[in-house]
Amino acid sequence: MDAFIFFICAIAALAGAFGVILARNPVHSALFLLLTLVTMAVFFLMQNAQLVAIIQIVVYASAIVVLFLFVITLLGVDQQESLAEPRRFQRPLAVAFGILLFAQIIAITGNHWATGAHSSAGPLDEPRTGNVQAVARSLFTDYIWAFEITAVLLVIAVVGGVVLARRSGQRAGEPVLEESNA
């Protein structure tokens, strides 16, 4: 049964990934990305990562994909885009580098296996309470400093996003000056 679910979801994930890079319309790319992200959540569930799977659905599949779709519609770039490539060697080189990258990853993970001491974070499941509590215990004890830093990171990202998204050096109500595209 596990194998059945895995292969179905693996095919869906690969189809979604190919769809992202082959779709001419950015909206279709975003929806293919959604497919891959949801199958990824299934993989997380199959590997005893319940909390991460739910966060994947809530944060990635909802928030991030919706943000992508918002920006696509806001900018109005949802028309068909030409996939013609002006540089002759760009595509073959990209595929060659991709194959090289894949070979490197396989060579690294095929010849080595992670060994050594386990981290101090503990096993995957608490004895009676399960995976969510195990993640929470680790997050709020071993990784508390990193967790606090993420708060700072998110604040900086939000402030930076607001600063970048409003027109620079312009107050509300001022007329829009046409900027030259030199």
Partner: protein, 104 residues
């Protein structure tokens, strides 16, 4: 035919394929939004690797790191999309080929 046991190796191979597809897409596509989606794809492949190793080694810290990766990805999307909006305001286009002011 008996179904094979799904070992962590299956997940690692799938993750490496997804990572490669994301990397090739990043090189091939010209629309900055789609390039961004390819980066998300690569981040997700890395997350799958972390979760697979967490399962294989029975160690929770792999999943905690995935949690942090998700936070960083969310922050990255917020800032990156704001940058794309700013570029679009200036150039009315989001094609990477046209943003070549730094070209020598």
């Amino acid at each position: 035919v008996t179904a094979p046991d799904i070992t962590p190796t299956y997940y690692l191979i799938l993750a490496s394929i997804l990572f490669t597809i994301g990397g090739v897409g990043l090189l091939v596509r010209k629309n900055t939004l789609v390039m961004f989606m390819c980066i998300e794809l690569m981040l997700n492949a890395a997350n799958l690797t972390f979760v697979a190793y967490a399962k294989a080694l029975n160690d929770i810290s792999g999943q905690v790191i995935v949690f942090f990766t998700l936070v960083v990805a969310a922050a990255e999307v917020a800032v990156g999309l704001a940058i794309i909006v700013a570029i679009f305001r200036r150039r009315q286009d989001v094609t990477a080929d046209d943003v070549d002011l730094l070209k020598g």
